[in-house]
Each structure stands twice: as structure tokens, then as C-alpha cells.
Assembly symmetry: C2
């Protein structure tokens, strides 16, 4: 029966029964759960007490356990693989697809991983060692080496027979597409299973394959792979070497995982911390303190300069204490406009809409935008001071109009400055080879706060000299 996962948290329903089975009759577990999706079994494994997870996986057939491992949360999977005997771990991971196997080994202790690899069957070992060499953040680190490639000269009927044989063998090749190679082994065309079905049986693959193949190299960054997949609506992207040889295929399910992971990292960095790399619900207390505390301390140290800036203007504050009343308002305005600008630019960069070379176009755009937004807020600021004075809510003294103008002009300047800093910081970070998403709202606010104070007191010195100052 179809079911709707959002209405039935299936794993929560299943977990108690599976736990009972595990204690009372583990040999029946395989048969009792054979109709379930491995993703749901993985959810169950995440819900039951950790000490039972290894026994749960051991009670499943090896191929089934491998499927569940592929869906398991990274940290739990690593724990299990490090805990169970090496031979058992090798038997399980040998059943995984090559890319998932390499991913699983990537996240565990390197010595344990080496031991497991040494116990794999020869072919799987060779494949795994090759894939483990690639940076996990590249196409090489994402790709599977199981794909269907055929010679251009083969006929549709021949290829069809071999695809059928492969499907029946139960191997897990990515059958999204069939790749056609030249006699030298270079990737030259692609066709979908559907296009293969539509083709005349006697035609050669060269006749029917599409020859404009969008591809990436093993070194292509995983974000670029994701962008290409989304742009061309692909369900698999071939990975080719410099010399044009097909080395692997990145499938769309892995691309979705990349998109979601990258986004999680971006959002957390934009919040002004290190990326957690673990779910909020499962990360340990001290890991969380570390990931948040380091940035918070750096930002605090940056903010300490505001105290120095305030000290620099202590004479002015003594003479016109009224100036201190608007300090939080002024500095926060710059931080807010900076936060908007930096979020916009970080996202446009992540979407590939903006490159480093576009910085001056953005600067030319943010300057009038910031000034306009600043002017709007400046008018509100002037209005606030004058309104309170006229309504008798507060007495800013006889020069209240000058004070109102000081607030208004400062807000305009600080907001425009915030927009500029917020929009330029991501470019600067990327230029320095850092992640533009680290240009968090708090980071921008910290940069803007000290300057905001200086702008405010400078405007005050200009406008109020001879009256309040």
C-alpha cells in the first residue's frame, strides 16, 4: 500500500517491535522486515539504543545491511563500522555501491578503514582504493565507478541484450544512462534507457547517441557538479579524465545530498559560527560550545574596539551625553543593512550568478541602494527626535533640530557603509580563497560597528560644534 511518510512516522511505530524481535527472535528479523524500505530501517536504527544497532545490522542479510548502512546517519555508521569485527564490516561494505563504500570509509578512523579495505575482495579493494584517493568534496569523491559504457559501434540490439543481462545479474550499475565510447575509450555520446528502447534494433549506438555530453572532471568541485546537474536537469553526470576517458558517474541522489549539506553549512556559517557537521539534535554539548564559542570570542574581541572607540569620544560624550542615547540605534542600523547585503551576495555567489570579477558592478549597485535605504531610515530618525521633542516626551534641549540632523545624516552614512561592507566582504573572502558564506551577519556587524561610531561622532563634531560640542 502506498503510504505517506509525513503522516506516519513509520520508524517510530516500528522501532519497539524491531527491538522486541531483536531480543527474542533475531533470526526472524530479516523476513519480518524484508518489505521495508532501507531508508526506514536506517531511521529505526537511529531510534533504537546505540548498543543494539550492531546486532540489528548483523541480523539482516549482508546486502540488506549494506543498503541500510548507505542511508544511516554518518556518525552512527562510523561508530558501527569501528565497533564490529573487521571481517564483518568488510562483508557489509563490499555490498555497498563503490561511491557509498568510499564515503563510509572516509568518515571512520583511517587505520580501521585500511584494515577493512585489506579484507575486501580484490576487485572491490582496487575500486575502493582508487576512489579513496579523491577529495570527498570533488566529483571524484562523489562518483560511482559502476556505470554502463558501450562501444559506439555496437548495435542497439546488442547493447539492449547486455543491459538486460546486467540488470538480471543484480549488480548495482547506475542505469540512468548508457555512455558510448570511441575505440580509444573516450566518452563520445550518451543515451537514456528510454532512448535505447525507442531506437531501431539494427542501428548502431553512434547513430542514436546524443554527442553533446555535459561532463565534469574528477577535480570539479562538488558545488559545481550540483550547479551543472540543476542547470541541465540531469539525473547523472559523467566524470571524464583530462584525456576524455569516462571514469565514473555522479548520480542525482548524491547531488541532492550535496546541495542540502552545502546549504546547511552556509546557513550555519552565515549565523556566525563554524558548520556543525552533525545534526543539532545529536551534537555533544562541548562540541557545540566549541563550534559556536570560537567565532563568538573572535566577534567579541572585534567588538571590544567599540569600547576603545567610545573611549576616544569620551570628551564629546561628557559635553553632550544626549549623543549616547542614539548609539545602539546607529550601530544596529549599519549591521542590519550589512546583513541584508551580505546574505544577498553570498546566495547569488552560491547560485553562480556572481563571480569575483563582478565586485565593482555590485559596488556600483550597492552604493546608491545603501544611500537610498539610509536616507529613508535617516528621515525616520529625524522624525523620531523631532516628534518626541514636540510632543514633550523628552527634552533634547534647544538645539534638538541639530541633534535630529546628526542622527539622520549618521544613519544614512552608516547604512550606506554597512551595505558596502556587507556586499564587498564575500568578494574579499572568496578572493582570499576563503568561503564567502563566512561573511556572517555578526561578522559584518562587528566590522561596521566601530566605523559606525566614528561616522556618528564625526557628523556630531561637524554639526554640533559651537552648540552642544
Amino acid at each position: 500500500m502506498p503510504f505517506d511518510p509525513q503522516e506516519k512516522p513509520l520508524a517510530t511505530l516500528l522501532a519497539p517491535d524491531i527491538l522486541d524481535l531483536l531480543e527474542e527472535n533475531p533470526s526472524s528479523l530479516a523476513a519480518e522486515t524484508e518489505d521495508l524500505h532501507p531508508a526506514d530501517l536506517a531511521d529505526v536504527a537511529e531510534l533504537i539504543p546505540r548498543e543494539h544497532v550492531a546486532a540489528f545490522l548483523a541480523a539482516l542479510p549482508k546486502a540488506r545491511a549494506a543498503d541500510v548502512l548507505e542511508y544511516l546517519a554518518e556518525d552512527l555508521r562510523a561508530e558501527v563500522l569501528e565497533e564490529i569485527p573487521t571481517s564483518e564490516a568488510a562483508a557489509m561494505v563490499s555490498q555497498m555501491t563503490p561511491d557509498d563504500r568510499a564515503d563510509a570509509l572516509e568518515t571512520i578512523d583511517e587505520d580501521v578503514a585500511d584494515d577493512i579495505v585489506s579484507e575486501l575482495p580484490a576487485e572491490a579493494r582496487a575500486e575502493t582504493e582508487k576512489l579513496r584517493q579523491y577529495d570527498p568534496d570533488t566529483a571524484g569523491g562523489l562518483m560511482t565507478t559502476e556505470f554502463i559504457s558501450v562501444s559506439e559501434g555496437a548495435t542497439v540490439d546488442e547493447v539492449f541484450a547486455s543491459v538486460r543481462a546486467m540488470a538480471r545479474s543484480g549488480r548495482k550499475e547506475a542505469t540512468y544512462a548508457i555512455y558510448a565510447t570511441t575505440t580509444e575509450g573516450r566518452l563520445h555520446g550518451v543515451l537514456s534507457l528510454r532512448e535505447l528502447l525507442a531506437a531501431a534494433p539494427g542501428a548502431t549506438i553512434a547513430d542514436v547517441a546524443r554527442t553533446e555530453v555535459v561532463s565534469v572532471t574528477p577535480a570539479t568541485d562538488r558545488q559545481e557538479v550540483a550547479r551543472i546537474t540543476a542547470n541541465y536537469d540531469l539525473i547523472a553526470v559523467p566524470v571524464v579524465s583530462e584525456s576524455g576517458h569516462l571514469m565514473g558517474v555522479v548520480t542525482v541522489d548524491d547531488v541532492i545530498d550535496v546541495i542540502v549539506q552545502e546549504q546547511t553549512e552556509d546557513v550555519q556559517k552565515m549565523g556566525g559560527m563554524e558548520a556543525l557537521d552533525e545534526p543539532y539534535t545529536s551534537i555533544g554539548f562541548w562540541s557545540m560550545i566549541k563550534k559556536r564559542g570560537v567565532w563568538l570570542c573572535l566577534l567579541f574581541i572585534g567588538e571590544l574596539f567599540t569600547a576603545s572607540a567610545m573611549q576616544g569620544f569620551e570628551e564629546e560624550l561628557k559635553r553632550a551625553l544626549v549623543l549616547s542615547l542614539f548609539v545602539p540605534l546607529i550601530v544596529s542600523s549599519g549591521g542590519n543593512s550589512g546583513s541584508q547585503a551580505t546574505s544577498l551576495i553570498i546566495r547569488a555567489m552560491a547560485l553562480g550568478e556572481l563571480q569575483v570579477k563582478d565586485w565593482w558592478r555590485v559596488a556600483l549597485r550597492e552604493l546608491p541602494t545603501g544611500l537610498t535605504l539610509g536616507a529613508i531610515l535617516g528621515v525616520l530618525g529625524v522624525f523620531r527626535v523631532v516628534l518626541w521633542q514636540r510632543m514633550g516626551l523628552w527634552d533634547y534641549g534647544e538645539h534638538y533640530w541639530l541633534l535630529a540632523m546628526t542622527v539622520g545624516i549618521s544613519v544614512t552614512g552608516v547604512v550606506a557603509f554597512g551595505s558596502m561592507v556587507g556586499s564587498m566582504l564575500p568578494f574579499l573572502l572568496r578572493r582570499l580563497g576563503l568561503d564567502p558564506a563566512s561573511a556572517s551577519a555578526p561578522f559584518v556587524a562587528t566590522l561596521v560597528d566601530v566605523t559606525g561610531l566614528i561616522i556618528y561622532f564625526m557628523v556630531a563634531l561637524l554639526l554640533l560644534r559651537g552648540t552642544l560640542l
Copy 2:
């Protein structure tokens, strides 16, 4: 030849040639561009002057133009469809897949859309009218109605023959999976094209189809559809009615678009503004001012309360001006810790790790986290005051230790308060039916700033009464 889009901005290279062809020899355009991917042609259309886009599409065969339209940026596509004669628009959109056709009509003027629909062939018109009824943010709004469904009783060979016939007919059914229905038309099973190939020719579909089908209803929110697709590594999700009838299929390419769009909206809201709904690089100046200005004004009005809070403590400021020096430091610390907490919670909610009911678990976690982080920063704050005094960099007076303790304790309290507000605000927004991503760093900072000032001056009154105050 394979090419690597990131190294060759193909559209930029092609645009001038295509523009020349369009002016000199439009009839040859179709043949000259027939090897190009429609996504690249859409990129070209976005690069050439807008007044040529309609002519460019008109020079392509209708089915090809429809493909290009599917990849075109929404605003440009809407402009073109509104500009060209209705009959021509109808001829183009009738060639689009039903889901893309409904999407395209969704974004244009409703009267124009109605005119175009009325000129569609009867079958396409009925399909389109049905799809247009669904909210574009639901599974119904995303699904295509072209899919392969077969009766459970059919044999593998029969189904195979009909899939082949369908592929040859050139229709665009989503052939990712074959859906098996009962005699009453209810969805009962699914099998992939690969599984169909592997099956014995004489078997019935009921024998070989998997019966645990993950499905959604037409009303399922598009974010939930994305979450399910990612969780189960699907490339298509069937959409079934309440009564279990198969109504359509959401394909993975549309899911990726949803994920990317939702992320863009989240990031922009988290930056403290409305979602732009257009690329940063193409949005008009005044639209941008509006999207950013509204929130910026609201935040500014919120921040105005800091001026009132400061006024409330003017007596204390007069007596101990030194307190004003640390005001920006104190308020920004709360904003920063709040920004971290809100980003973490918003993301964990978007990933489905946290539900509204988890609010108290989060509160129980953020309180000790905030207090610990606050204590760390508080120590830094104490250290700063004492160090400056001892090194003779500044004279905070004889009671400098009391001042240092005031700063330290206030920072601890404000940081802990910031974490609480930042983590609870997304829950509150969701509870009110609003988007938790609107709990931006600036929004949280604004909420925390006034309270932060009050905490600071309260601590000062307690510790400094009889000395500085």
C-alpha cells in the same frame, strides 16, 4: 565532444553568432543550433537583447522552442509569452510537459494565460486546467500528469512492448518508473525500467513490482516532497489522491529546483529582508529597495526603543558616564549569540530534525549552552577592563573591579538571553503559521538589544549602588 560548462561559458560564446544569424538568415537558425542543449539556448536567450528573444524562439521548431522555454528564466519567459500572438504562444506551450506548461502559465498575466489555454488542443487544455487548480507550492502544483501506469495483471512482456511503443511515439512521459495499479485504478506497486528489464518475460507486474510505494498527496507541501525525495533517494515521487488513485508524478529535476529556490528564500529572509523572487543581478532598483526597505524600516522602528531605554537610564549615565563605553559591546554580544542560535534552529527545522513540539528540549539545551558561552565572553570582558586599567591604557576609576564585574555579568546574561530568544523565535513563528526563516539575525538582535540594555543597567544598579551610582 564532452565539454565542461564551467570552463566554457558556452552561451557567451554563442550569443553573438546567434544574433548575427537571427538578423541575416533566421531560417538557418534551427539547423545551426540543433546540436545544442536547450538549457544552453535558454542561456543565450537570456544574454541577447530582450527585443530579439521572441524572434529567436519563433525561428526554432515549436517543440524545440518549448524545450527552451522550459529552461528560460521565469520573468523572461513570462514577458515573451505575453508579447507574442496567443496562437503562437499556444502552439509553443502545447509542446511543453504538462507540469512545465502549468508553471509557465502560472507566472503570466491571468487573462493572457486564459486566452492561451483556450487555444490549446482539447486534451492539453483539460490537463492544463486541472493542473492550474493546484497551489504551485504543493505536490499537485509540481506534478506532471504524463506517467506510465499499467494494470497489475499485465505481463512483463506486454508492458515492455507498450513502454517501447510509448518511447517511440516521442511523447514525454516520465519513464523513470512504471506504476502498477489495481483494477480499481489504485496505485499498488512500482518498478523501475531496469527492474522491468530484469524480470522474466512471462511474469505479471504484480509478481515483480515493489508494493511499498512512497507517495504524497496533491496537497503535500513542496518542501515535504523535497524531504521525502532526498530521504528515500527517489528520482520520481507518485502523487495519489485520498482514495489511492495515481494522479501524477513529481520528478527529481523539479525537486532540485524546489530545494534551491527554498534555500534562496531562506537565506534572504535570514538576512533580514523579503525574499527577492528574482536574481540579484536582474532585479530592478526600486523592487530591491522595497524588498529590503520594508524590513529595514521595521527593524529601525524596533531599534528606536533602544533610544527610549537609554533615556530611561539617563540619570545613571550622568552619574557614571563610563557605563556608556560598553553599551555597543554588550548589545552586540546578545545579537551575535542570538544569530547563531536562530540559524541553527531554522536549519534544523528545514531539515525536519526539529518540530514545534521540540521547543522545550531546545530551550533546555540552549539555556546551559548560552550560559556557558556567556561566561566565556564574560571572562574576556572582565579581563579587558582590568587589563586596560592595570596597563594604564585607561582609567576607569578606583572601582574598576566593580565595573569589570558589571560588564562580565551583563555579558553572561545578555548572551544567554540572546541564545534563548534566538532559539525560541523560530518555534514561535512556526506556531503562528509564519515562516521560521523570518527569524533573521537582525530581527533577533533587535529583540535582544533593548532587553540587553535593561540587563546591563540593572546589573550596574545592583553592583555599583553606593559607589559609582
